[in-house]
């Protein structure tokens, strides 16, 4: 009787605010059966323990009662049940043995009590761990839900992509001895495309569907090939990053929407550490097409402005040269004509003719001096020399040409020697030289396959103590320099470009020579043109450092 009274308020509610309706009813029905069974079993054990002469620790069977009832009781209920069982055991013991029990009975009594206590402790611990497990589970479910909602609601385009097939492919290639994936792609032009077919989109968010002009995110599922333009070098860059085992990839890529528009996106990928996680790689993208477009227009406007101001400068310069030169030239012509007049007289006035001839020579020399001076001014005028690390200038130039490089789907590989002495020159002038040479390289590769469009710019230190100079080598993978062009390459006004002025390389060479260096061009054994310039290292800096 007392047990029933104790039970009622102590019933555990394993799912607070959780299940309801039929399931709750089923649970409570089962619980009732459990409790009934426990009650019966408990009574039976008590009866047997108290009123029969069965020797043995019958009370140990209370453990069964506790196990049966435990599931339906809270922690407090379990403690009370254990106490109840212990009380019954004591009662039975006193009833059957009285106060003068033998040692074995005492022992059995002790074992029973211990068993009840241990069971109670175990049940309590079990319940604690069950509860914390449940809490953790709930937290996990909540976190999963939160992340799902972040993924779905984010205004950034997010993709879950299955890279596992491509990863296997890359692993296989590595096992076959492929070290340089970029080189492999050059030999197998279809390779990046093949990979694009193997990368599958598992899931995308709404922002992605919007970006791709899809009516629902589920339409994005499947190989990503259809969203990638044919010659975008970004895919190969991603594959190279994967092959090199990098944990992140960040870069610029192109996407084709379902209505055929080509977008420029910034792309970020975190590659997982574990091989089996490559099945769901999260890729984030931000559309920068508009920004890029504005940037391009800005660059075009700047280039146009630069061209216009160059033209204006050339115009003003030629006008001033024309005016300056015209004076002595006019005098030269007049003197020569007057000289002829003196000689043509009858008799000829030789003395006057000589004076006129002398003036002719004098004014001719003056004209030559003006030409010399103007040329000197042109080269020297706008120079402001400083100590320069050529690696920095190369880096800046690559950055400046980013748009041009992207527009021509060209990659730049820079190779810097670990220690480069500084040189003394005008930073802007050198930048102009690099821009010129690199742009030439980019344009030379328009006929080259997209995957192979690679511009290598390397900066090397002095080859030895007797050649203290810094060398910069720019190598493209275009068609190289034809023999008939090679001889005239650096001549002013020689051009192979439509609409070109033919001044670029001529100016480059004179700039480099101004700083005591030299600029040469040759063809690479493996194809493509190589432009190399060497500038003397700054001796003072080399000694002090």
């Amino acid at each position: 009787m007392s047990r029933d009274a104790a039970e009622t308020p102590l019933i555990a509610d394993p799912e607070p605010g959780g299940a309801c309706g039929p399931s709750r009813r089923i649970v409570s029905t089962r619980r009732r059966w459990h409790r009934l069974l426990a009650l019966l079993l408990g009574s039976a054990v008590f009866v047997v323990d108290t009123f029969t002469d069965v020797t043995g620790a019958i009370a140990v069977l209370y453990v069964l009662v506790m196990l049966l009832a435990a599931e339906t009781f809270s922690r407090r209920g379990i403690v009370l049940l254990a106490l109840a069982c212990a009380c019954l055991t004591v009662l039975s013991f006193l009833t059957s043995h009285g106060l003068n029990a033998d040692v074995s009975a005492m022992l059995r009594f002790g074992i029973s009590l211990a068993a009840i206590a241990i069971t109670a402790a175990l049940l309590l611990r079990d319940q604690t761990s069950k509860q914390s497990l449940m809490e953790a589970n709930t937290a996990l479910a909540r976190s999963e839900k939160r992340h799902r909602s972040i993924f779905e609601q984010a205004r950034i385009s997010l993709w879950e992509q299955d890279f596992s097939e491509v990863r296997n492919l890359l692993t296989t290639l590595r096992q076959q001895g492929v070290q340089d994936l970029a080189a492999y792609a050059r030999e197998h032009p279809a390779f990046p495309r093949d990979c694009a077919r193997r990368i599958r989109t598992v899931h995308v968010n709404d922002a992605t569907a919007e970006l791709l002009r899809l009516s629902s995110p589920s339409e994005a599922q499947g190989p990503i090939e259809r969203f990638l333009p044919a010659d975008d070098p970004a895919l190969l860059a991603v594959l190279v990053a994967m092959a090199e085992g990098r944990s992140r990839f960040e870069g610029r890529a192109k996407l084709v929407t379902t209505d055929g528009q080509v977008l420029t996106v910034l792309i970020g990928i975190s590659f997982p550490d574990e091989a089996d996680e490559f099945g769901r790689v999260v890729v984030g993208m931000v559309d920068v097409t508009q920004r890029e477009h504005i940037q391009q227009m800005q660059l075009a406007a700047q280039a146009e402005l630069a061209r216009a101001s160059r033209a204006a400068t050339v115009g003003a310069l030629s006008a001033s040269i024309a005016h300056e030169l015209n004076q002595p030239l006019g005098a030269v012509v007049m003197n020569a004509q007057t000289c002829l007049r003196w000689l043509g007289k009858d008799p000829p006035d030789v003395e006057a003719a000589m004076r006129a001839a002398e003036r002719t020579a004098r004014d001719g020399r003056r004209a030559a001096e003006i030409v010399q001076r103007t040329r000197g001014q042109l080269v020297r005028d706008q120079r402001s020399d400083e100590m320069i690390d050529l690696r920095e200038v190369v880096g800046e130039t690559v950055h400046l040409l980013e748009t041009e490089l992207n527009a021509h789907a060209t990659r730049v590989v820079t190779q810097f020697a670990p220690s480069i002495p500084p040189i003394r020159a005008d930073r802007v002038a050198l930048q102009q030289v690099l821009i010129n040479l690199m742009t030439n390289g980019i344009h030379a590769m328009t006929e080259t396959q997209a995957a192979a469009r690679e511009l290598t710019v390397s900066v090397d230190g002095p080859a030895g103590p007797d050649a203290p100079e810094v060398r910069v080598v720019i190598q493209d993978r275009g068609g190289g320099i034809p023999d008939d062009v090679h001889a005239r390459l650096f001549e002013p006004f020689f051009t192979t470009k439509r609409g070109g002025m033919g001044m670029g390389l001529a100016i480059c060479r004179s700039t480099i020579e101004t700083y005591g260096g030299r600029l040469t061009a040759r063809n690479h054994e493996q194809g493509g043109a190589v432009f190399e310039f060497a500038l003397p290292a700054d001796q003072d800096a080399a000694q002090t450092s």
Partner: protein, 210 residues
């Protein structure tokens, strides 16, 4: 009366050259000397204006671009001062708007350096001829004015009527005097103006009217 020698030297043409380039000045001077024309050089328009004036016939050879007052500005200034000496412009580079402006303002010619010597000499000769003619005309006008100054007011009235082609009788009626008095005045006019025929008188009256 001036002596014939003084008159001859005063009549010898003199060319003024204004150019900031000494080589050009020297060459031009020698070129003109080779054909017997005397010249005087100035490095700027200022120097020219500061120089003592001369009554010798001749012309100006100006560079369009000059330090300080430009050739074109000098041309405008001389026009305001009623200096009719002809101007020949030179320029380092053919500038069409500038040459149009100079020619409209009455320049003799506009030569682009370097020019043919003969072209320059021809223009200089033409300019000197023009200046001489202008000077003769001016001198004649001056003489006529002096003659006209000697006429009495009545004689001046009679001359004006005669030049208009009126007959003595008409003039008498117009001025309210007798025909004989008109004839007397008319005789005095012809004498004072040093003319023998009415036609000559008309020509002199035209010079006066200028």
């Amino acid at each position: 009366m001036k002596t014939p020698v003084a008159a001859a030297s005063a009549a010898a043409p003199l060319v003024f050259i204004v150019d900031d380039d000494e080589a050009i000045r020297e060459a031009l001077t020698d070129l003109l000397r080779s054909v017997g024309i005397e010249s005087r050089c100035f490095g700027s328009t200022r120097e020219l204006l500061d120089a003592a004036p001369t009554d010798r016939p001749g012309c100006l050879i100006l560079d369009v671009r000059l330090p300080g007052i430009s050739g074109l500005d000098l041309q405008a200034q001389l026009m305001r001062d009623r200096n009719t000496r002809p101007i020949i412009f030179m320029t380092g580079h053919g500038d069409i708007p500038m040459s149009v402006r100079a020619m409209k303002a009455g320049a003799m010619d506009f030569l682009t350096k370097p020019f043919r010597d003969q072209d320059m000499l021809d223009v200089v000769a033409a300019a000197i001829d023009k200046d001489m003619a202008q000077r003769q005309e001016a001198a004649a006008a001056k003489e006529v004015a002096a003659q006209a100054a000697t006429l009495t007011p009545r004689e001046t009235e009679v001359m004006a009527a005669v030049v208009k082609g009126l007959m003595n009788k008409q003039i008498a009626g117009l001025l309210g005097i007798s025909e004989i008095t008109v004839k007397l005045h008319r005789g005095n006019v012809m004498r004072k103006m040093e003319v023998r025929s009415v036609a000559d008188l008309v020509r002199k009256a035209e010079l006066l009217a200028r």
